[in-house]
Symmetry: D2
Subunit: 356 residues, 4 copies
């Protein structure tokens, strides 16, 4: 079931490879009668699209979603909403020689073993970050429904390599004026510039960097989610790891919470405007797998881009000899900014499903 | 589906509350003909059982699993293996006054909203860590099958608060002689003593601490797992968050990998004894959601025990007024040691399912 | 996942073998706060229990459900409702010689192959009709919730061998006065007597008979169910085949509808008391997988009891020689009456899940 | 999850409406390295395609599948195999007036309620039989894999209205020479001619007829399937009801088995060529949900086409007044022949999944 994000009501089937005719998604379970705001979808998807900034890959693709089914007069009709996005700008020859030389920290070798050498290596095949484009389409649609319910999903770059954004402020983080650049959302412009310098340096060295994305879901009512195996943490984590390069996830104070005493990490309850809330939010809006009514907050570790221009050691799958490999082709020195909409999309799909 | 750990073949349904007649599990999908080594199960479960050390809760329960079905002459017969563990040592009166005063950072408030006040508050109800006992039973059984396949699951305490165990050494970590105490597994005895001091101090202050558990699955063949939504990371993460107090998970270099350059974090391929391996294991044995043949390595953040003896602010659910609450009853100052077998159990169940 | 009836919200895990320590069920997903009427549960379960009439097996068991978890003060608390029913009256020696002689039309041979000879043969193991007892418990609980929603599930014996009950009358079928005997529900007492004669004759000849059960779900609102793979028909059918001896299911006019012209089988719409209904109900309350607001009606074929006292040819699994076998032990000459509550239970669970 | 046929390994997501841009399927879980025989796929799909005989709808569409992803050099690569089939010959104006006048025994009314009037009425929307085209594509691919395992799926028209094909002969049914017409497969040419006359008469009267399809899966090994909720019968039944117009399913002797004594319906075991088999196959190759090694045999009731040219009573959804409706547009007087490949496709997908 690798290609299906399964919810209770909502299921998103993703298909395509980096260099297949197209990629796409089938979204099953949306309420009927939803009028999709195509401009909002396009705006959201453009945050993920390549070629937007000097950092991102040279490959420029419109990423224009083509609706195949599911709409009547621009409204959902109860049938699955299916879209495709054409792959127009593919240069498969770049990848020909990679068939026998797996790229370090890419899926190539694992896929080679799993699929007995039949895996599509061109552009990373089905493992390509490009597959997050249809996911972003689905997420953008879900976000429109969430907004109708008063729920918003917002993220910022928490860190790039060792440069951290300003400390997290629950009260101001999500003000659009504070993070004016949707392609590089940070609270502190100064830190943002430092981050860009770190990325530029990596790019100049044909190297790459990673970082951490912090995402918050605001407006979630309390009491959503199931204990044990189907808690909010379980499901968000499961779905977030579908995004390539994610290697960790934490909720609330997460790993840093383990450095505190219980008396510091516990979140006292208080009454605020007649509503029961917590003074702090170290629990990240989730207690026992269930929402507490506080913002759901999580952070994801995005590893440094595996594709680098520096020579690396690999093993020839035919000769079983070690060889040097320099990955050619186009690649981002840092995919954190483009991972953000994918993370938001997964969060939106996951949370909407729980509310349907 | 909150109570079911669902795999492709293997499903573990967990039932019970801390103070119900019993707790238990139904394990569906085990191969028939497996002779269960009850001593090994008991030994494994005893690592989780309460009252083993001066740190852990005073409540002492045998945690003796009672097999209800699924065995014929001590061997699995294809029918679900069902067990129960009686709750013999319950003191529900300790919890009576908590019905209206949710304990900070416990599930009480979220469960109150979700279940409209009908949730079982005694001993934490279904949210109690006690529910990991049947999970440990299931894990112990799965581990026996994994061992037949040459796969072992091993963990150590990576950190307690700010005390870290010795650096991770892939070659020696899993030698039983190195970690002689199964109830407090650390590589460095010296660091282990420091950790115990930290826990003791917290206990003396009626406070609590958390930590990080590192778990490795050794012997996994390459090519296991599915891309995107059903990768090893997705599934392990989903299941691990079923364990109370887990607030984060990372694979391989995880969050610390974001501090490195791609050239540092990438794992070069090499040939070792004729086998293709990687020189380092920053990818934690998983590439594109699929095993690489290297050990699967992950770390979990275990938050400080929410139950502390220090007075905390909460809100009376009836009066909606803020009140002070001092949690009475028995609680561990640190549940990290007892979380370890639960983590191993979940890892074993998850991985076995993928191999069946 | 063989032992789990999976719904969207509601999951029923069934465990046990005919002769294991007990059998039981774990019901996950019930709303919290439901006060269970134990008398109603007992009354419902007694319709399935053995030893009620001269037809049914001599084995008499109380079938008393023992609640293990999920209730607080008699109300559901959100935690899985787990029950067990002890197996007190087992005579395993009756089955010893069946290990090598599979009984015709029983699961013995198929299970032998599947489980490599490790299957539990005593009393039919996990394939025993006895496993419908915990299912009936779950169904009885669900029925209480359905009744609160104005939905009832009612059945009658449509036929025993070639004796048919009176024609189906949507307006009167479900009046309790018309079918006074819950253990042998028929519309026509006269036909009921004929059916009993057929059963008695079979019993006298150490033979068996089967029949058809007709079940109706009254009060279902229109618009429930999903098109294609998750329609009401799909899900009811999937779950109904969990009951041993069911070999067919049809909805509305079903197979007999194929004998009509479209103009005869189509159900004209009409307005009745201001509500849109159909004049006839050949569609069985389901159009395109979705309820139409008319009663959901289906019929199940229950095969003649496979256990008969007449000598039959089988094959010795060790010697691979043909042998004669006379099945000893207790068995009903007709299980149709006892299948009815199981069918109603499955219908209730399935339908409730769709409405939660 | 309405649009996803879910298996353990294999998942088929179907999308599209009768008059959307296209319809299609995403097949996830096929083994990598399978070379797809496009000619065989086309031949199989042509049995379902419209306009093949004088009986079937005038709409002629090539039903040419366009592969979007999942293949590299004509072989499956492990990524989901996605296809689309363009809807080229749509005349939506035919359906405009149906928006307020639900057609008797169509999904129109149920869908109207479910989707709050937003459902796509044109050509039946997502409920159209046209959606079986992508299913047939998936089935054709699966059949190629089954054939490699020595398994074949074959069907014949068991009956049209009250005309029955020759009695079922396990030894000869599946000989292609005996059923030379793949578009109208019958054992008896004489009966086939009678069936065609029945269909012609219905057509002349602007009426319709239904029938029964018998399908057999040959070559299934014993021991496949799970007891209770995931038996072969459960899963085949669940998936078969995805095909529009199916209103019943029975396995082996099914409903007619209820007319027999147990001694007649039981299938004695015998040894045949050293293999354990049964003398008769009233159990339809399935015992306790598990294959016995005998052919899996089932029959499906296909209701008379709901679309007829005769005036029928319906209710105007706006005025809530009864009105007369004459369904215009193109429709088959009998869809049994075109349902056959869809039934075989579902059988093939379902069975292959169990064998992967």
């Amino acid at each position: 079931m690798s290609s299906i994000l399964r919810g209770n009501k909502l299921n998103v089937t993703v298909f395509g490879q980096s260099h297949s005719k197209c990629i796409g998604a089938v979204i099953d379970g949306l309420p009927a009668g939803l009028e999709i705001d195509s401009d909002a979808v396009r705006a959201f998807m453009s945050r993920r699209a390549p070629g937007q900034s000097f950092f991102s890959t040279l490959r420029r693709e419109a990423d224009a979603p083509d609706v195949l089914s599911g709409l009547v007069d621009g409204k959902t009709c109860g049938a699955p909403l299916a879209i495709k996005i054409d792959n127009t700008n593919t240069k498969s020859e770049d990848y020909e020689d990679l068939k026998l030389l797996p790229r370090p920290s890419h899926s190539d070798y694992a896929a080679y073993v799993k699929y007995d050498g039949n895996n599509d290596i061109a552009g990373g095949g089905q493992f390509s970050g490009r597959l997050t484009a249809p996911l972003c389409y689905a997420g953008a649609v879900c976000m429109q429904l969430l907004e109708q319910k008063g729920i918003t999903v917002k993220s910022h770059i928490y860190s790039i390599k060792d440069v951290n954004d300003e400390p997290f402020d629950l009260n101001n983080l999500y003000d659009d004026e504070i993070m004016p650049d949707p392609l590089f959302p940070v609270l502190s412009r100064f830190k943002g510039e430092q981050m860009k310098t770190v990325i530029s340096t990596a790019m100049d060295n044909a190297d790459s960097v990673g970082g951490v994305v912090e995402c918050a879901i605001l407006g979630m009512p309390a009491g959503i989610g199931e204990p044990m195996f189907d808690g909010i943490e379980n499901i968000i984590a499961k779905n977030i790891f579908a995004i390539p390069a994610i290697k960790g996830i934490e909720f609330g104070s997460g790993f840093s919470g383990t450095l505190k005493y219980g008396s510091e990490n516990n979140d006292a309850f208080c009454v605020n405007d007649g509503k029961i809330q917590t003074v702090t939010n170290n629990h990240g809006g989730i207690l026992g797998g269930i929402t507490s009514g506080m913002p759901v907050v999580f952070r994801c570790a995005v590893k440094p881009t595996a594709s680098i221009g520096i020579s690396q050691q690999t093993v020839n799958l035919q000769t079983k000899k070690e060889e040097e490999l320099t990955v050619k082709g186009r690649h981002d020195p840092c995919i954190v900014p483009r991972a953000i909409p994918a993370i938001e999309a997964v969060a939106a799909i996951t949370v909407l499903d729980l509310l349907l």
